[in-house]
Every structure is written in C-alpha cells, then in structure tokens.
Symmetry: C2
Subunit: 261 residues, 2 copies
C-alpha cells in the first residue's frame, strides 16, 4: 500500500491537527479537491463567487488585502457561506517576516486573519521563528498553516535544499503545519496535504511569469492533493460550468491515482 | 578610493532611481542614518512617534497592517510629518507572491501602499515576476523597492547562492530597486543602499529567534548604510534620548568607516 492509493478520508487518521482531518474528510464527503482562488477586488464579487461556487469547492482561497471595500462584515459573511456550503477558508497571506511581526499581522490589524481564516500560509525563508510566531496565535484557535515549498512562478529560488529544509521545519510543528503549497508531493508521510497553485486546463503562463499546470498533471502525475484554480474559472464566460469541469477533472485524477496506487 | 570612503551624497550621483538619490542626500544633509521601526498597533501612537522622533531619522519604517484603527487619514498625516521633518516612509510589507498578485496588493486594497510609502520591500524568492509586478505600479509614482537579501532571524534560509541571485535580480531593475535589507554590504557598486534590521545597543535576541547587532557592527564592520532600530528605542524609558543616542552611534560609525576608507 502506497500513500497515493489512500483516500483522503484514510489519511485523516494520520493528522495531528484537527483542521487537517476536517479538510481531508470534507473532501471525500463532498467529492471535491478543487480550491477556488478568488482574486477579486470587490467584496460583493467575492461573496457572489463564494455563494455560487461554494458547493463545488473544498477551499476558498482569498487575498483579503486586495479587496477595495473590506469591512469586518465581509469575513462574517464568508464564514456563514463556509458553513452553508461546507468549505474551508484559506487566506493566502504568504507571511514572510520574523516571528514577533507575523504574530501581530496574523492576529491584529484591520484584517484579524486568525479570527476567520481556517488556513493561512507562510514562507519558511525567515527560519522557524515565523512558525513559532504564527503558532502562538493560531494553534489555540484550531487554525492550520501551509508552508510554501514550491511556487508556480518562473525563476523562483526554491531549490531542492530549500524544499528539504522547509519540510524539516514543518515536521517540528505537526499539530499546526498541515501541508504545503507545492508542485509535487514531498514525502511519504500520509498526513501532509499538498496544494498546487497555478492550475489551468491549458498550460502556459501570464505576462508576469506565472506558469500553469493541468489538474491531471498536478494530482495524478505529481501526486498533490488540491488544485487551486483562479483565472481558469473566473475569466470563463460561465464560471459555474467551468468550476464543475475543474472539479470533475481534479476528482478523476485523484481516483485514477488511487487505482494506480 | 573605495566605496566605503564615499559620502552618501557622493553616492547619490550613481543612482538611477530618483528616490534613492533623495534618500542618500537627505541622510548627509540631516546627518542621520537611523531608521525607526515603528512597530506599534495604534494610529495615535504611530503619529506621536513620527512627530517626536521624526527629526532624528532618515526613514520611518511601518507595518501598516498591524494598526488596529487604520484609516486613510493616518497615511495622510504620516505624509505631512514626513514633509515637515524630512524623512521618507518605508512600508515593510515583505511582498512575497507572484507578480499579478503583488501588483494588486501594492496598489489597492484598504492600504493603497503605493500611494503613500516612498519605499517598500519584497522577497526575491518568487523570481523576477514579483519585481515586474511591483514595478508596473511603483515606477511611475517614483517609488523605490528594497529586496531582502539577509534577514536578522535565526535559521533563515538565505544562503550565499540565494544572496547572489537576489543581487542579480536587482541589477535588472536599476531604476526601481534601490538596495537591500541585509546584514552586510553585498557589492562594490556605490548606488546600492543597504539597510540593516535587528539593530540594538546590546546584542542578543528575543524569544521568537530575532538576533540583534550593534550600530557599530552594522555600519563600520559590515559596511551597511542604515540602521533600523525598533524595540531598542520604543521600549526605552525615554525614546527621544535613546533615538538621539542611536543616531549618534550610527553616524559616528559612518564617519569612522569613511576615514578608514
């Protein structure tokens, strides 16, 4: 039996962080490994997408700091929609500072990220102090952290030594770090959850060096768990039909991988 | 003649970015290489420090996203104080995402960083796309960017190959990238400006793996240009006296370095 033959539900048993269990279980229950990257700049638009596409996704990924008309009411509405449609919320903050600073950035300010985002992410680049700082705020609220192991942008500086050090850092916080932003599975431990950004039906890129992979490549070939799709859905004529199609492709790739084991 | 014997004013002639010239010139005119890291969570407190300590500093470093009661009026007040006391404003955002995302984060959202911060900073980790994205927003507003080459936190993953790649990336944007967050001077080119965080009279650290260096060590021994002092000043009984003392130490170290050449 290999990790890739296990169901998400089976892997939930190996997780120390309750939010990781919850995510893996809801993926199997809801039959979706699709995360929506909702990169919009209007609160109303964000809510409309969460309402319309919420039934298709396991995760809603936000950039709360690009919303032009943010109010605390927005995050309350997102929480309500997360309950209604059974998805988790992942604020893609990419924390990247020393422990003492990220603690304040995660807990406070106008956005109070730790109060409403089930998951957030951080770069391992500043060393383990960044995880310590986030842990102090997030652990007691039952939040989870993803570390960035590999980005989807061309020319990134995350070489294999960097990825191994990131994995080693994650292993020090098994009840808080739940997985990675990555293009490939990184380990044979079944509790890590791998999320792949930059997923689009047609490979290629944008003018700012983003590079795309297909759902099949991410899940089946590269062994990751969750496809993060943004412009592939939002720029489509009919986002709902497109989301259903990505959901199906992601799920088919998961079933194919389990069979291939 | 070596770079370390040049005055800040002399080096301004080598800069392609107008904001870099302006910073180097004001440092010599005002005789200060002190940056205040104003890590407070109240707008009123931030304004009070900018008013009181503004005359001592060349740069006010902010974390706008930890302010609990942010309004657009705060950044207007900070701009007014920057004019009055002749300092620049550096929002320590540590951008760390792909180009298309940082463009929105820099320009928009509630904070509209590009509208009021003369300088901001970014990690080179995602590759050159991050600089392209920030450039599209900041260059036309005459802003400047600092890249993070070395952090002050223990166990950071910025090895010498990482630093060299960061330097090479900066060289592609000489009219926008003005220098580095670093513990050491990185090159013999006189136009780069080096800012050192984690400066404190007494070396040591905090419980979240921050490590401190002294002003003399940063400027004289390690050849950097600007000392960034936070808790060393803000946690003192008399912040103004303490700021004057750091200013003097930083300036003395600069004069000593120029003499030693």
């Amino acid at each position: 039996m290999t990790v890739s033959s296990l169901s998400y539900q089976d892997r939930a048993d190996y997780c120390q962080a309750p939010i990781a269990k919850q995510l893996l279980q809801l993926m199997d229950e809801k039959k979706t490994n699709l995360a929506l990257s909702a990169d919009v700049t209007s609160a109303q638009q964000l809510i409309a997408y969460a309402e319309q596409l919420g039934p298709e996704i396991c995760l809603l990924k936000t950039h709360i700091d690009i919303i032009e008309d943010f109010t605390a009411g927005l995050t309350q509405t997102l929480r309500r929609l997360a309950e209604k449609h059974h998805f988790l919320i992942f604020e893609d903050r990419k924390f990247a500072d020393i422990g003492n600073t990220v603690k304040h950035q995660y807990e406070g300010g106008l956005y109070r990220i730790a109060d409403w985002a089930d998951l957030t992410n951080a770069h391992s680049l500043p060393g383990p102090g960044i995880i310590h700082g986030l842990y102090e705020v997030g652990r007691k609220k039952n939040r989870g952290l993803l570390l960035l192991a590999e980005m989807s942008s061309a020319g990134h500086l995350m070489d294999s030594a960097y990825i191994q050090k990131t994995l080693a850092m994650a292993e020090q916080f098994p009840d808080f770090v739940i997985g990675f932003i990555t293009q490939h599975a990184l380990s044979t431990h079944p509790h890590w959850i791998y999320l792949t950004p930059g997923v689009k039906r047609d490979a290629g890129g944008d003018s700012l060096l983003q590079q795309y992979v297909t759902p099949e490549k991410a899940i089946y070939e590269q062994g990751t768990d969750i496809i993060i799709v943004g412009r592939g859905i939002l720029a489509a004529k009919d986002p709902l039909t497109e989301a259903k199609s990505y959901r199906q492709q992601g799920w088919d790739a998961y079933l194919k991988r389990r069979k291939a084991g």
